[in-house]
Symmetry: C2
Subunit: 469 residues, 2 copies
């Protein structure tokens, strides 16, 4: 690369010849930049082609073409007889960029919602990508089916039946942008809305309630206790749909009791309603086999929604729904217009990853890893803050710590002073939930890097000890 400074106008031009676009591109860019920056003022007459060409050691035609291009772009104007000049309307140089405020990162982070990012199986994923992209038909690189790639829907139908007891077929599976993307799609459907509110568990993700709010769908809370959501209360609401986390109530923990599973499905049949099953971490059950999906009890009344966000990584934004037959067309139609957002290349790779057994292998490894962390957390708490009750740890990536009444805010404050970010239990509570709100914190133990985990637990225990004694 050679930097040329020509005489005359060339004084103002720094032209790097030999860059990716060739000499003409380099000259055009240099002239454009000179106008932009104000070095060439509005109204300035440019030298004739041949003088600038001689100045810069370029062909005359190269200069002529560069001028023509900048005229086309509006930087220069060319008038018969008066030569080429810098346009009057050329914009002033932009103000200096405001530096973006760097997001403050806590020193220790036990907020829920993230898997262990250091465990993403990079090599296995890349190997699957290579196999998948090499084998893919050309149409994989065109616009896709709004339901998602056939290969992925087939792999998921098999996996979900085998691992989660879901009864579905590739035709009833529709991929979506994580659980949130699926909920957004469902919330827009008249078949789901029906002019009624949606029942939700009194504890859940505020983000999910926000999605429903944004879609104009009112939510009514259903009480949650140690047996999960009180689905026997559903007939007492005006709702015709309910959002449940049957495998592991989020965030309070525990699978939905068998009688309550049955009651939810019974209710949906009775009112011609719908259950939306959020199976966000169904794969991560530690002390026995995972509880199968509620969807298996009645595939025409339950929408099963799963995702790779906890099981693999949220970076893929990959989710899937197993739909009742009557919702397939409406969802596909809504998605066709609004939501075709998932990379087909990732879909092919995930299909290959599942079919080749890589997904199962990864899940087995992560189950062990998370179980060890859970055990370490439980042991540390039992030893150092035995008065704090640990709940919801038979599964998943988080625990709920039940705190002595009135201490939640103090624990959060003590943690904050020590640089530890935590989610208060109250943040998950529906604003209209009835009864007293117990004090607690939700501890996401999956995300911290290995080298920091013990130190993070230590900070947690100290904050708990200080604020609850």
């Amino acid at each position: 690369m050679r930097i040329v400074e020509g005489g005359g106008l060339g004084r103002d031009l720094h032209v790097e010849l030999g860059g990716p676009g060739g000499r003409r591109a380099a000259l055009t860019a240099a002239l454009r930049e000179a106008v932009r920056s104000g070095r060439l003022a509005p109204g300035t007459t440019l030298p004739p082609y041949r003088s600038l060409a001689a100045d810069l050691g370029l062909a005359r035609n190269t200069v002529a073409e560069a001028y023509a291009e900048l005229v086309a772009e509006g930087w220069l104007t060319a008038r018969q007889g008066s030569g080429t000049r810098v346009a009057d309307r050329a914009a002033p140089p932009p103000a200096a960029e405001p530096a973006p405020a760097p997001a403050a990162r806590p020193a220790y982070d036990l907020r829920q919602g993230q898997p262990h990012t250091g465990s993403f199986p990079r090599s296995a994923w890349l190997a699957a990508a290579r196999r998948a992209l090499t084998a893919a038909p050309n149409d994989a690189f065109g616009p896709g089916d709004p339901r998602g790639r056939r290969e992925l829907r087939e792999a998921l139908a098999g996996y979900l039946a085998r691992a989660r007891g879901v009864r579905t077929s590739p035709e009833r599976i529709v991929v979506c942008s994580g659980f949130a993307g699926g909920l957004r799609l469902l919330a827009g459907l008249p078949q789901v809305r029906r002019g009624r509110p949606m029942a939700v568990e009194e504890y859940g993700l505020a983000h999910h309630r926000a999605i429903l709010d944004l879609a104009g769908l009112r939510t009514v809370p259903v009480a949650v206790d140690a047996r999960g959501a009180d689905t026997a209360a559903l007939p007492g609401t005006r709702a015709r749909s309910v959002l449940l986390t049957p495998a592991h109530q989020f965030p309070t923990g525990g699978p939905l009791h068998p009688a309550r599973r049955a009651a939810a499905v019974e209710w949906a049949r009775h009112v011609d309603g719908l259950v939306v099953e959020d199976d966000y971490d169904g794969e991560f059950r530690f002390d026995r086999q995972p509880v199968g999906a509620l969807q298996g009890l009645d595939p025409e009344r339950v929408v099963y929604v799963g995702s790779a966000s906890k099981s693999l990584t949220p970076a893929l934004r990959m989710g899937w729904m197993a739909l009742p037959a009557h919702l397939v067309e409406p969802v596909v139609e809504a998605k066709g217009v609004r939501e075709q957002t998932l990379s087909a290349l990732d879909q092919l790779t995930l299909a290959e990853f599942v079919e080749s057994g890589g997904y199962d292998r990864h899940l087995r490894g992560m189950r062990q890893r998370y179980r060890r962390r859970r055990d370490q957390l439980a042991a540390a708490l039992a030893a150092r803050v035995p008065h704090v009750e640990v709940a919801g740890v038979a599964a998943g990536l988080h625990a709920v710590l039940r705190l002595p009444p009135g201490t939640e805010a103090a624990v959060l404050a003590a943690a904050g002073r020590a640089g530890l970010a935590l989610d208060p239990l109250s943040a998950f509570r529906h604003p209209s939930a009835a009864g007293a709100a117990p004090d607690g914190v939700v501890v996401g133990y999956a995300a911290p890097p290995d080298h920091a985990f013990t130190a993070t637990l230590d900070v947690l225990c100290r904050a708990l000890a200080r604020a609850t004694r």
Copy 2:
């Protein structure tokens, strides 16, 4: 893998031992399926653990755990003293799946909108993926920045400045799900809406108008002629925003005239308004350097929106916006809640693909390929239907064929009979566009596979000859 048929209840069970989940999983699945299918009727009492265990050659504990799991899922009920039975509420077997209607595929396809899928650079992309994923920090596998990965925003800021004359910085770039995803985000912003309609070119994608409609944003058409959109007409509308395709009016062809580029920016400054620049195929200019982006004239008044859908593949759903400073925060906020849908892994790979020069190389190759196809199309039409005028072919992946008045429907019908799918020009016309609608068809020449291209042109020429003579 061994298929075991036990005696007694075992007659109804087909248990495949040795599958991915082990013996307990296999037994659980077999029992679940037997209940589902109705082979085990509601109310049936199951044999005691030890008899079934003996039947199947399993440990007693394995059977006990399988029963417990199915009780938890609601398939079985266990009552003290009365043993384990099939639950009353078990669902009837689902009806046979309706076979999905296969989408009818035309024998020949010249509809616009698709790049040449056979040219996706699989090896170069996989190599970039390997480099990108190997080098990525762990946080790449966590939840991302709603603006998109920093690596990609940096690569794009450099690329767009160099190749498209865009003036931006990584802080002002926000990735989005293709152009459509960007438009959807913008259409929701009060800063864009302002209780006013949005001006659009009288020819454009109906899908884009549908997105604006869906967002409750009314559109008003601006006339289009050989010099592009008549931006001098903007002050006569109530609009405060306009959607333009300055590099190559879609679909009628031709770059926006320099005076009209200037007029669009002048208008936006005067009314405190906004230009949305759809640079859908700005890279594919054949006969001279690409016309730089309009955004370069005033980065505070123009939102530049580009995507990889034409340049690389729509399968990535990858798009990007270069935003005026005052829109960065509003877009990020809207995106944080509604639109964080792009795979971070693809973003990292694209960043590496751009930085390593792979993207430029791919574009150079495709430019040659598309130019050859354009030349072949033009030559075939000139030789065989010289009375059909070809327009808009100095750039892009499509041509507009101007037809004799009153022949558009006949050409579509003749093409249809020959198995050729084509887009009528009228399909791109705004419903409120004034004046007479010229007859024409839009020919997307990028997508057909190489081996079929000559035959497809032949079918096109014959249909044109038959219907316009």
